[in-house]
């Protein structure tokens, strides 16, 4: 275990210490981890030199777990316990999964998010994702030779609050410090923006294994704005496999296959599809269970023909996204191709034709998201303080509240740049009403029943008044990860009630702890050790941050007694760090955070002033 580095009092940490940080593409089909090494973003391989980790987890009765290729290989033989495409279930309830009946899984409905029954017990999608993330984390720590300070994890741009929260919870469960959740198309653009110094409007066309996403971004001077997103959550490489599969059945006059045979032919279909990227034709051969032989020739032309409607199906959401952004295909300066399925020549052709230009292919479409995430992770870890790097993202779906008659009142419209806060006032509708229930939803539709329910809570203790007299102010705050918190306040008659909700699917710290306990069957002492370690890391981070700040501004922004108070707080934290009590470390962290609050505020004011001064100087020059 790496030891926590603590500098001498008054000395800040070494200025050029490289902090280990990674970018993770947690994909539906495949996941990857990348990092910036000697200024270059690279994907980290497994011990067999393979960059991809299939997003497949298999649970065994003895509590052990397979992740990746070995799990994928057993998918057809052990379908109940082998979880594929778990990303589809993140932050989703049973009623959100229209095709749940067609899968091999035994779902357990539970409030907020479905769970899956396996031989190793009931697993939440968060736990399954955490198992994938843990493998990537281990891979990275082995490759980089140290503990990670954090990770940037990518999510589809359209992911709602529940799905984002679930992703963040999975990372926490895997012991990763999440530096930021980043939209996948933004990550892809980051990868291209830096390598090719791209500016202007770009389209990111992402066709993966089971999903299609199109995003329209505006890139300029390091700012990445998402102008619009659209897509089809049930369209991807799997559908192309299926078309070939159907073609095989038709050509070989097969029907009513055993599941084993069907699985085999689907695998053959996928192999044929992937081979057709580099060959004009391929032979499809298979021996079925009953000894029946399949031997067919599939040409690129036939493949293109039987999948034409699928290719066209990606163009409708593309048009819609452009319209949302108020743009025409000609306005798009470049098209970034993401996802393994964009390797198919018919996709390349169709996209090229639609946009009237060759799509960008310089970066590997499988890796581009992870590469971009790694670049952002490197910035957030503080390894690049030199430049004016800035990345602005947006909230993908509108946030609103339920009002009378099951209607939605939008509070924050989609595509608002984050972080964002908005307040809305509501009133009572009955005389003497003393409580009000607040229902937070996300989505674009007008009826509450058509939107996603995020949280419900009650505001009590409203003083009895005539209808319409109370003034209840509900504030939504969305942070830079796109995560929401809501507070409500009654501000009449000097009475204030306020509550902060965490949306209902989000895991509480207790639940995370419970999952950690059950997943690792840790003894109490291990839990204690873990908590202690977490607080030590947190304390180290805080001391480093404050000392760096003191080094920059301590002399100019603080008077002697203020300085002494902060120095005292740091010394006290160092003191409790010698001990083994995680609670007292936690308390002292909070205290130091509090003590340094004013200093932080002054530094921020100074930064803003600096921004404006720089601006005015520029103007004088012109």
């Amino acid at each position: 275990m790496a030891l926590l580095q603590i500098a001498e009092p008054g000395m800040s940490a070494a200025p050029h210490q490289h902090r280990l940080a990674v970018g993770i593409d947690l994909g539906t089909t495949n996941s990857l981890v990348a990092t910036v090494r000697s200024g270059l973003s690279v994907v980290l391989h497994d011990e067999n030199g393979r960059p991809l980790l299939p997003s497949v987890v298999r649970y065994h009765g003895d509590g052990s777990t397979d992740v990746g290729y070995p799990a994928q290989a057993m998918q057809s033989r052990d379908p109940h316990n082998t979880i594929v495409s778990v990303k589809r279930f993140m932050g989703r309830g049973l009623r959100d999964l229209p095709d749940a009946g067609n899968t091999a899984y035994q779902f357990v409905d539970s409030p907020g998010m479905v769970q899956l029954k396996t031989v190793a017990g009931v697993k939440s999608p968060v736990e399954v994702s955490a198992d994938i993330l843990r493998v990537l984390r281990d891979r990275a720590e082995t490759a980089l030779g140290g503990e990670l300070v954090g990770a940037v994890i990518t999510v589809p741009a359209y992911f709602d609050d529940a799905q984002r929260q679930a992703t963040k919870d999975a990372a926490r469960l895997a012991g990763l410090n999440v530096l930021r959740l980043l939209n996948e198309p933004t990550a892809a653009a980051v990868a291209y923006g830096l390598d090719n110094a791209a500016e202007g409007v770009y389209a990111v066309y992402d066709l993966g294994g089971g999903t299609f996403d199109i995003s329209i971004l505006r890139l300029s001077k390091g700012v990445f704005e998402v102008l619009a997103t659209n897509g089809d959550s049930a369209l991807g490489g799997d559908d192309f496999d299926h078309r070939i599969y159907c073609w095989i059945l038709e050509q070989a006059k097969l029907s009513a296959l055993k599941p084993q045979d069907a699985r085999l032919l689907l695998t053959r279909a996928r192999e044929a599809k992937e081979d057709l990227t580099t060959h004009p034709e391929v032979r499809v051969t298979a021996v079925l269970g009953a000894g029946q032989l399949v031997d067919l020739l599939l040409t690129t032309e036939t493949f293109a023909e039987i999948t034409r409607s699928l290719v066209n199906k990606t163009l409708a959401p593309t048009k819609k996204a452009l319209r949302d952004a108020g743009l025409e295909p000609e306005d798009v300066k470049g098209v970034v191709m993401v996802g393994g399925s964009t390797r198919m020549p018919q996709i390349q052709r169709a996209v090229g034709k639609f946009f009237g230009q060759e799509p960008l292919n310089n970066l590997d479409p499988d890796r581009v998201v992870a590469l971009g995430a790694a670049i952002q992770a490197n910035v957030l870890a503080g390894n690049r303080s030199d430049d004016e790097w800035l990345l602005l993202d947006v909230i993908p779906l509108s946030l609103g509240l339920e009002t009378m008659g099951g209607l939605v009142e939008k509070v924050i419209p989609r595509n608002s740049t984050i972080p964002v806060a908005r307040a809305q006032e509501f009133t009572t509708y009955k005389d003497g009403q003393t409580a009000m229930s607040i229902h937070v939803v996300q989505g674009e539709r007008e009826l509450v029943s058509d939107c996603r329910s995020l949280a419900k809570f009650e505001l009590r203790g409203i003083p009895p008044m005539v209808a319409g007299a109370a003034r209840i102010r509900v504030t939504f705050q969305v942070d830079a990860d796109g995560l929401l918190s809501v507070s409500a306040r009654e501000k009449n008659c000097g009475v204030e009630a306020s509550v902060v909700v965490k949306p209902s699917y989000g895991l509480t710290d207790d639940e995370i702890t419970r999952m950690l306990r059950t997943s690792q069957e840790n003894a109490q002492s291990d839990m204690e050790a873990r908590a202690l370690r977490e607080q030590q890391v947190e304390a180290g981070r805080l001391i480093e941050a404050i000392e760096a700040a003191l080094g920059e501004d301590g002399d100019t922004l603080l008077n002697a007694s203020e300085r002494a108070e902060i120095d005292g707080g740091i010394a006290e934290l160092r003191n409790v760090l010698q001990g083994q009590n995680h609670m007292s470390i936690k308390d002292q962290i909070e205290k130091l955070n509090h003590i340094s609050g004013t200093f932080a505020a002054r530094r921020m004011d100074k930064s803003v002033k600096r921004a404006l001064t720089g601006h005015k100087l520029e103007e004088l020059e012109t």
Partner: protein, 175 residues
């Protein structure tokens, strides 16, 4: 943090309807480059919280001032004129007449599936909105006639609704 600072002050630009969009955007970026949470991902809790509040404020200010209507509303607010858009719907008969004509034309084109017709209406509407905005600039920056400016803002809101209607019709025909 000084939340009493108005949005124009935050960006260091003069309070007016006519603003240089490039300068506004530059000021916004300069501020975000200093306060954005990405700069504080490994800072103390206090700094992270402040950074989020500042970045939120800068976003809010930029979104408000970037859009002509938002800017006009905000200027009116700074000058003590509230629009009460939800309750005050009294419009001049001439304007209402015009609105009805627009609605009819859009409805007919939509029913006939007339895409070029809708596109023509859209261009005409854009021109009218531009003229209204020109007038708004005069009223706010030169004449300081805030009462009349408030009326124009309310009218513009109706025009924006028409624009949405045309876009929806075009989208429906496209699908």
């Amino acid at each position: 943090m000084d939340f009493n600072q108005n949005f124009f002050e935050l960006f260091g630009i003069a309070p007016a309807y006519r603003v240089d969009p490039i300068r506004l955007e530059q000021a916004f970026r300069d501020i975000q480059a200093q306060v954005h949470p990405d700069k504080f991902a490994h800072a103390s809790d206090a700094e992270r919280r402040l950074s989020m509040q500042w970045a939120t404020q800068a976003n809010e200010a930029y979104q408000t001032l970037k859009q002509p209507l938002g800017r006009a509303r905000y200027l009116l607010h700074l000058n003590g004129v509230e629009l009460h858009e939800e309750t005050n719907t009294a419009m001049s008969p001439a304007f209402l007449m015009q609105q009805m004509e627009w609605r009819e034309a859009i409805g007919e084109a939509k029913a006939a599936g007339d895409v070029p017709g809708l596109e023509h209406l859209s261009a005409k509407l854009r021109a009218e909105i531009a003229a209204q905005q020109q007038q708004l600039a005069e009223l706010l920056d030169n004449d300081k006639n805030f009462q009349r400016a408030a009326e124009v803002v309310r009218e513009l809101k109706f025009m924006e609704k028409l624009r949405e209607e045309i876009n929806h019709a075009l989208e429906a025909l496209d699908a």
